[in-house]
Amino acid sequence: MAYALQQLINGVALGMIYGLIAVGYTMVYGIIGMINFAHGDIFMVGAFISLISFVLISMGGWTAGPGAILLVLLVSMAITALYGWSVERVAYRPLRGSFRLAPLISAIGMSIVLQNYVQVAQGARVKPIEAIITGNLEIWHGNGFAVSISTMQAVIVVVTLAVLAIFTWLVTRTALGRAMRACEQDRKMAGLLGIDTDRTISITFVIGAALASVAGTMYLLRYGVIDFYIGFLAGVKAFTAAVLGGIGSLPGAVLGGLLIGLIETFWSAYFSVEYKDVATFAILVITLIFMPTGLLGRAEVEKV
């Protein structure tokens, strides 16, 4: 029981990271209907920028405290957002309104570019970082087994929830959010009504990248090591999460992320670590067989 509770906490912390990345997938999918395959690598870039920032800070002799983490988060968000914007501008915007598979291939190309660019620029070896947030909060104790939530996990959950809250406010309560939703429904009509659709799409990529960079920072803090290849698997998992939740649905992305995190953690804890990805994907396939548009996705009714 205690073990299960511990796994639940671990799973939620991991699921939050997936959820943050998944939001980026689902937003881009919602607005231009493409799988932004490079999004996982944007997450990786975010993690690297955080890493570099942390190293800079520690070289500057500033002891890492909440202020430092906040600063790193902001720097990483800004620069990663610039990456997200550039990727859209270079690889996707010229293909707007074109053949459906063209942006997908372009995105796969961009994913290869980002991965190898970081590998060339920062080296292929894994980058370790000292634990920045340490400490445990014991929340339950008994039968010789203690359930504890590490401060790190608490930070992940709190930061993620805060970021998601700000983000939800942004897309539901502001003019920008309204423009985004309008573009989602009907881009051509939104354009006719005076919404700058190119700009709205750019902002979508910027927001998605910023959220991915938060996920990257959290990943770095949680695991302490990153390399140029982390984007692929995290990206695939997050995309799986987005699809599981119903692609295009923002709450669905977070829910899907949580589910994937929980499945992975519980499967590793009770069955085998090796097959955790198989379990994740198998559950995705099974879900889609019975709910072809995911858990919270709008049922696509094709009018005959």
Binding site: I35, F48, Q122, V236, Y275, D277, L284
Partner: protein, 468 residues
């Protein structure tokens, strides 16, 4: 209007700045020209400069942290150290600035837009009829051309393997319009089937090859069933997941597949029972034909083997396209609901596309296993699926010739840039983006009708469905 004049006329260099002349978005960057209808803006030099400066600024923002600040594990394995590389950043930013400026100026001088796609379609059709036989003749003659090295033949085998995989996937994606991101799974199933059958039961290549194909087709149907109801990107992620599941299972089922160590000592193919052993000896190919034993024999044999397999794929595909089944695939790509209303069994049609596409992937896998004599899960990662899909899309969905050319360009080009070492994949990915931006519908984008009453007319890509 200045826009209309400047399209054909002299650019307004140094002239009066036209404030209405399509000022570019602030901060445009990158090396890609605008694509789209209507006249592109023709900024005068000042605007070109300003735009290039903004691009350079963005580039600086991108490159300063990741290129300028290189992190390395410090001496003694302690924490990370930072090494600055401002020189590299300056060079990169300079390149972006220059490229953007040149691009802006070029768009100023550029003549009227490219010819209409209908003309291009007709032109491509004419070129295509000449190119295909020429390529085929070259492929057949390659081993006997003077100057063909062992390396050249190996490269030829590699390219042909991808041509075959591309043609196989083309059935699923190009004809039936089903987006498959896990095609490598069937390649893997074929390779492992061949490896296990031949090492365990000691069966010959010619028995294992069809078995590998059948097993792959079986897996194709197995994948096909759950995804029948899915559309578009849901289909994409499930096929991707399927590919990953197969790879992870191959990696972890150590007792069967050898896990990460893979399977080695896979028997080489024989020429109707004649082996290609290096030392010659009785029962070998060289001995039977009275030739000097040479390792080249095997390479030439493998070359013709994959050429034959690829041509078989092509022949079957072309044949099926003109048959009810192939037409039903294309109809499915165009409109599934109409297919149902016409009494076409959509389920069977989809499954047959998956099965036949998978079968050819399985053949290619079996060939790969026998050629390498060693296979491991490393050869069957997602990136392989992505490359095969890229070949199909870059070539032009549904076009056999386009796929062959794309495989030649992508795989041949990748090998040609061998000297770039770690930059090679970077260039490869960049090329994928650039080709897509240049030709979103692929190299050969028009569709040839499968049947006609009069003269066959190519169908422009704009009308052809994109699948789901």
């Amino acid at each position: 209007m200045s826009t209309a004049n400047s399209r054909f006329g002299v650019p307004h260099e140094g002239g009066v700045p036209h404030s209405d002349d399509g000022v570019p978005d602030p901060g445009e960057m990158g090396g890609i020209p605008r694509v789209g209808p209507g006249p592109a803006p023709r900024p005068p030099l000042t605007h070109a400069l300003r735009d290039a400066l903004l691009a350079a600024l963005v580039a600086a923002g991108l490159f300063i942290p990741l290129v300028g600040l290189r992190t390395d594990v410090g001496p003694g394995g302690g924490g990370l150290m930072i090494r600055t590389r401002w020189g590299d950043v300056a060079i990169l930013v300079g390149i972006v600035f220059a490229a953007r400026l040149l691009l802006n100026l070029w768009s100023n001088f550029r003549p009227a837009p490219a010819p209409r796609s209908a003309q291009r379609t007709a032109l491509m059709g004419r070129v295509g009829t000449a190119v295909a036989p020429a390529l085929l003749a070259l492929a057949i003659a390659l081993p006997f051309l003077p100057g063909t090295t062992r390396y050249g033949l190996d490269l030829g085998i590699l390219v042909l393997t991808y041509v075959m995989l591309g043609w196989g996937l083309n059935i699923v994606v190009g004809l039936a319009g089903l987006l498959d991101l896990g095609y490598v799974a069937f390649y893997a199933v074929g390779a492992y089937s061949y490896a296990l059958l031949s090492t365990t039961f000691d069966l010959s290549f010619w028995i294992c090859l069809p078995l590998a194909g059948i097993l792959a087709a079986f897996w194709g149907v197995l994948l096909g069933f759950p995804v029948l109801r899915l559309r578009g990107d849901y289909l994409a992620i499930v096929t991707l997941a399927f590919g990953e599941i197969i790879r992870v299972v191959l990696l972890n089922w150590v007792s069967l597949t050898g896990g990460p160590n893979g399977i080695s000592g896979i028997p080489r193919p024989t020429f109707f029972g004649l082996s290609f052993s290096a030392g010659g000896g009785p029962g070998s190919f060289a001995d039977f034909f009275g030739l000097e034993p040479s390792p080249t024999h095997r390479v030439v044999f493998l070359y013709y083997l994959i050429l034959g397999l690829a041509l078989l794929t092509n022949w079957v595909t072309l044949r099926l396209r003109r048959q009810p089944l192939g037409r039903a695939w294309e109809a499915l790509r165009e409109d599934e609901i109409a297919c149902r209303a016409l009494g076409i069994n959509v389920t069977n049609t989809k499954l047959s596309a998956f099965a036949i596409g998978a079968m050819f992937g399985g053949f290619a896998g079996a060939f790969f296993a026998t050629r390498q004599a060693f296979i491991s899960p490393e050869s069957f990662t997602f990136i392989e699926s992505a490359i095969i899909l890229a070949i199909v899309v870059l070539g032009g969905l549904g076009s056999q010739l386009g796929v062959a050319i794309a495989a030649l360009v992508m795989i041949g080009g990748f090998e040609a840039f061998r000297d770039l070492e770690e930059y090679r994949m970077l260039v490869f990915g960049g090329a994928m983006v650039a080709i897509m931006v240049w030709r979103p519908r692929g190299l050969v984008s028009s569709r040839t009708p499968s049947v006609s009453l009069g003269a066959r007319k190519a169908i422009s890509a704009e009308l052809v469905g994109q699948g789901r």
